[in-house]
Symmetry: C2
Subunit: 304 residues, 2 copies
Amino acid sequence: LQRIRRTLGNGIEAPGLRDDAAVLDVPGGGPLVVSVDSVVEGVHIDLGLCSPGDVGWKALMGALSDLAAMGARPVGALVALCVPESTGDGAVTLGVMEGVAAASRETACPIVGGDVSGGGVLMVAVTVLGTVEGGTAVPRHGARPDDVIFVTGPCGGSAAGLRVLRSRAGDAPADGSLAAAYRRPRARLADGATARLAGAHAMIDVSDGLALDLHRLADASGVGFALDAVPVAEGATLEEALGGGEDYELAVVIGPGDVEGYRARCAAAGLRVPSRIGVVRTDPAERRLGGEELDRLGWQHALG
Amino acid sequence: LQRIRRTLGNGIEAPGLRDDAAVLDVPGGGPLVVSVDSVVEGVHIDLGLCSPGDVGWKALMGALSDLAAMGARPVGALVALCVPESTGDGAVTLGVMEGVAAASRETACPIVGGDVSGGGVLMVAVTVLGTVEGGTAVPRHGARPDDVIFVTGPCGGSAAGLRVLRSRAGDAPADGSLAAAYRRPRARLADGATARLAGAHAMIDVSDGLALDLHRLADASGVGFALDAVPVAEGATLEEALGGGEDYELAVVIGPGDVEGYRARCAAAGLRVPSRIGVVRTDPAERRLGGEELDRLGWQHALG
């Protein structure tokens, strides 16, 4: 990734590759928050475990989660879809688009552009555009010593759902909340916008694993952290909660003086109660859960 | 495509799938012109005939051509890259990104986001964002009877370049302007912006073939056309000029009273002289070149 950044040279806006999303100043307009995310069959998803509709849903929600982590509200998405030529009847294409449409309705994010190609594997690349409406997007790098760390909900549900789906016998039904956590996760857009309005200093979505993403936030901010709790989704293990990934909860870092206001805003908005999981430390080398060092558990991208 | 549009239902902004790009109103900001375009190995490109750098260049330029056709100026692009896992040394990824970076510098369009995945085939999906800075984007559907039709440059060069590359013996060198027309086409951003400022009623890029794209513009506008000239690139055939595609010239439709102003603006901006190729007709069934009916020659997308 470093080499790619250097290759792009002056063309690249560094924040776009550092935060969950980039902030773009449009002449004559306000700042625009933009991000792109891809879902590739065999890498991120397995069509034996989820439907084309699930793929479309996850692709849009995964991209929107990057906006949520900046505290942005979506204003539109563009979808590039590549489908294997063997599915020339269009069933996979339509299935993916139905999932995209369902996620679009759920989040009130209109689809404003699209491109469909043949190709060797199913791939969906989604670009999302968002706005902070006069405010400032929340970066990864703003955490300060003594800030309080929250997470917007229990983690590990998606990884546990994947485990359940992989282990089920033949055609056994796979409904239930764990399978849904894997197949139909929800971007935490309202939670992110509320945290931004409450004055959050830093945010990240924990889609690559709570532990790894907290390390990244701490790396970007030049700080450490001490965790004393990890909210684990019902049916998930602690390891899945820390390193499973594909949960779209947000880690929210907020000044101690803003904690009560944050909780009150979440309650007023009818959101789930965020879990306090720890505090930010001055020493960047201090990265612990209870008395032990916290490993960088999570999904390390091949090229990341 | 019709079924996809229906599937997306209320989520979709119809102009996004009708024009070259969609126009998005960002709350608190001006209109944003957005489009997404993909390049897939084996469908749009052949790595035996062009380098990874060419692929990156063409992917960004192809997407930017959609902005050019709306008269928009680029403000940023996001690149989703999927590379076969066998190329784990990153050489293809870096090559593609070098081509993207070169096209980014050429057009002053910064890359503001990116995503790199493994996958079965090389695929690059590029989303571009642009602005018309207080003006109005030029649609496909605005052509009116008696308007004059221009094209910004000779056509068929890309198709002729592909023919030359396919026919060369073994390692024979493939420099020359035809090969460059295929490998390193240029989006006509300045030409599009100039035509917009001159009051163009309708525009389209001729990337799927001059004939087919003129038919589409006429379909969208509910009009016909009568052509009396086709500018053919040196070394290309008339058939390549009409149906070869991958030329990023623009077809510009402008009111008869604005023709002289358009020519003057092109000259003042140092642009190539646009070629007058015909006029718009009232009868939507009249679609001819000289005395003959013009077929819909060009690249018909499998799913279009």
